[in-house]
């Protein structure tokens, strides 16, 4: 594909429901990142996948958040029992290699999550 894609683009859910967000990275990119962007704030790192290594989950805000990645392809971010403070834009990015930032990270368009 031409770039990183994310789905859905918008998600409205009720408090307490589970949601699943999807990210398709650029083909061949071994590193994949999830960020959260609350209104008026910067990007907050959530989780990082690099190849077959154990993911870096240090940014996940609570155990309600989890993410998986199948090989070097699609990733899903799951938020269980959503809360209103989870409302944000969730951004996915990919890069050729985790430590090789020379080309920077390529971002998807984001999923705007609204928890009512």
């Amino acid at each position: 594909g031409a770039g990183v894609s994310q789905s859905p683009s918008n998600k409205v859910t009720e408090k307490g429901k589970d949601v699943e967000l999807r990210c398709d990275p650029i083909s061949g990119h071994t590193a994949l990142y999830w960020y959260r962007q609350r209104l008026g704030q910067g990007l907050e790192f959530l989780i990082y996948f690099q190849g077959n290594s154990a993911p870096d989950k240090s940014g996940l805000p609570s155990d309600r958040f989890s993410a998986e990645r199948t090989g070097e392809s699609v990733s899903t971010l799951t938020i269980q029992r959503t809360q209103q403070e989870d409302s944000a834009v969730y951004l996915c990015a990919s890069s050729l290699q985790g430590r090789g930032y020379n080309e920077g990270q390529f971002f998807g368009p984001g999923t705007r999550l609204t928890v009512l």
Binding site: Y33, E103, G104, F106
Partner: protein
């Protein structure tokens, strides 16, 4: 812990005027810094990297380790430069972003 600070949430300049978007960082390691830009209704994209010492769209940024700064500059702003700008610091595994500066270039 690493931190990136962009002190200005909003910045307005007139077309043709110089513009400087401030970025300061704190990091115990050797810093590697980036500027990302997000134009209206577009996705976040890389603008420039300090290691490349490049000029993109007329913008430059110099890493000043003494002042721990990586300010973004352009001598003559254009209306199409209006966007959200984020400074980012590479750490071992991730990018740490500042909170962003919304630049508006007035006609």
């Amino acid at each position: 812990a690493q931190r990136v600070t962009q002190p200005e949430k909003l910045l307005s300049v007139f077309k043709g005027a110089p513009v400087e978007l401030k970025c300061n960082y704190s990091y115990s390691g050797s810093p590697e810094l980036f500027w990302y830009v997000q134009y209206s209704r577009q996705r976040l994209q890389l603008l420039l990297r300090h290691i490349s010492r490049e000029s993109i769209k007329g913008f430059t940024a110099d890493l000043n380790k003494g002042e721990t700064s990586f300010h973004l500059k352009k001598p003559f702003a254009q209306e199409e430069d209006s966007a959200m700008y984020y400074c980012a610091l590479k750490t071992l595994r991730q990018l740490t972003f500042g909170s962003g500066t919304q630049l508006t270039v007035l006609p």
